[in-house]
């Protein structure tokens, strides 16, 4: 079963609905046993870094998620804050991240451009992946964030997006995928990504 991890950070309904629209089933849950049995995991999230990490800790999820992701190599898709939590740390908070990917989350700084980066933007592929249908022309996704991921290992970077500077809009390291944008709110582009994650990983 595809499990959408519910750790009290934002709206999960639209993700579940989009998975349903692709013809698959999923479960929104914070139940540790269900997470243990998951065939695929989705770690969504909207909110602040420390809130996210402390919620994961309080719900006793950090250990089981790390076991699933790092040992059992269960495919996981982190969305927005979920992606940032997969990094080592964030300038937004003081708590350590999950640290699955050699990366950190940094604050956007600009005198001229508006923060948060909010709206539709395009992605630039840095390597090929089963997550994207390469034949499709320009893909656009919906972003809402004030912090962005910076990867220390260039090989992990899947796509870049430009806002103020080029930042990592998605990474892929073995079974670990993170996307900064919201596929569940990016109509056909998001639906194709979710479908690819569910069917190709």
């Amino acid at each position: 079963m595809i499990v959408v991890v519910d750790y009290g950070m934002g709206n999960l309904g639209s993700i579940a609905n989009m998975i349903k629209k692709t013809g698959h089933k999923c479960l929104i849950t914070s139940d540790i046993e269900e997470i243990k049995n998951a065939t695929k995991l989705i770690l969504p999230g909207v909110g602040s870094f420390d809130n996210g990490m402390s919620n994961l800790a309080e719900l006793g999820m950090i250990k089981v998620l790390s076991q699933k992701v790092l040992i059992e190599k269960t495919p996981i898709l982190g969305i927005c804050l979920g992606m940032q939590l997969m990094t080592k740390s964030s300038e937004e908070g003081t708590l350590a991240g999950l640290g699955w990917v050699d990366a950190i989350s940094k604050k956007f700084v600009s005198d001229t451009l508006k923060i948060p980066h909010m709206g539709w933007n395009i992605i630039k592929h840095q390597k090929s992946s089963h997550l994207f249908d390469e034949l499709e022309s320009e893909k656009r996704f919906y972003f809402v964030h004030s912090y962005c991921v910076s990867c220390n290992q260039k090989v992990d970077i899947l796509t870049n997006t430009n806002y103020i500077q080029d930042f990592v809009s998605s990474f892929e390291k073995e079974n670990i995928i993170g996307v900064q944008f919201h596929p569940e709110k990016s109509h056909k582009f998001g639906m194709s990504l979710i479908k690819n994650f569910v069917e190709n990983f």
Binding site: G10, N17, G47, K114, I122, E184
Partner: protein
């Protein structure tokens, strides 16, 4: 580069969608769920939904309907109308609304804005500035869906909201609402020069060229009601939305 958002605004009351002129004479334009489905197919950038009776008549938020709407929507949704507490906002985020739009309650309670921003982040909190020109051409702010005049001048209130941490501001012209003769560009420009957060133009769009002008005057997003729900001349209800390519060409080079 970031795309300029083009956003249909839907006005809701009693579980139906309506559209009026200058915040009055609202006529039924359709069912919300159907409308969202159609806008899904049209790949709309974002939707704004206002409950136009919630604050004015002190009605409760229709969470059930909003949950159904959010389930159908594969684009971001901002909702405004009757949001009075953190719990209201929490419920809306949980059921799949991306952003809450405040007006009446924010003006009456600055602390609510601050708390919402602290708890959910700037990106989830929007303020809608409903403005009307006096006979002498002075701009004034209104609350309660255009019913109650607010003493704070528009630019001052907009700045205050920015200081409280909101993520974006909708500038909504009551005079131009439903008229389809263009946005009030003067006030957009005035606010744009003094604020740093993204601004959404609202009220008056009738043709694509109006979006272009709004962007030139400092707006980061353009919203419209009548233009997307009516078929021009005779105001027959027909949902429409420009093709992506059309919008791309329109905003090219600005």
């Amino acid at each position: 580069m970031l795309k300029t958002r083009v956003i249909p605004v839907l006005l809701m009351k009693n579980a139906g969608l309506y559209k009026g002129v200058k915040f009055k004479n609202h006529k039924y334009v359709g069912d919300p769920i159907n409308t969202v489905k159609i806008f899904n197919d049209k790949e709309v950038d974002e939707l704004v939904i206002f409950d136009i009776e919630a604050s004015r008549l002190n009605k409760p938020i229709n969470f059930e309907l909003l949950e159904n709407i959010a389930s159908e929507a594969f684009m971001p949704i901002a909702y405004g109308g009757g949001i009075k507490t953190l719990e209201d906002a929490q419920k809306l985020f949980n059921l799949g609304i991306e952003k809450v739009v405040l007006n009446t309650s924010a003006i009456e309670n600055f602390n609510l804005v601050k708390k919402l921003v602290e708890t959910y982040g700037s990106q989830s909190v929007v303020f809608c500035l409903d403005i009307k020109k006096t006979f002498f051409g002075k701009y004034e702010v209104y609350s309660h869906s255009g019913i109650k005049r607010v003493k704070i001048p528009p630019v001052e209130l907009a700045k205050k909201m920015q200081d409280l941490g909101i993520g974006e501001l909708i500038i909504n012209s009551i005079d131009n609402d439903g008229v389809m003769k263009g946005y009030d560009l003067a006030i957009i420009k005035e606010i744009a020069t003094q604020l740093t957060i993204p601004l959404i133009a609202c009220g008056g769009a009738g043709i694509l060229e109006d979006f272009k002008k709004a962007k030139e005057y400092g707006a980061h997003g353009c919203s419209a009601g009548s233009m997307f729900v009516y078929h021009q001349k005779h105001k027959a209800v027909l949902l429409s939305y420009p093709e992506y390519k059309e919008l791309e060409n329109l905003f090219k080079g600005i």
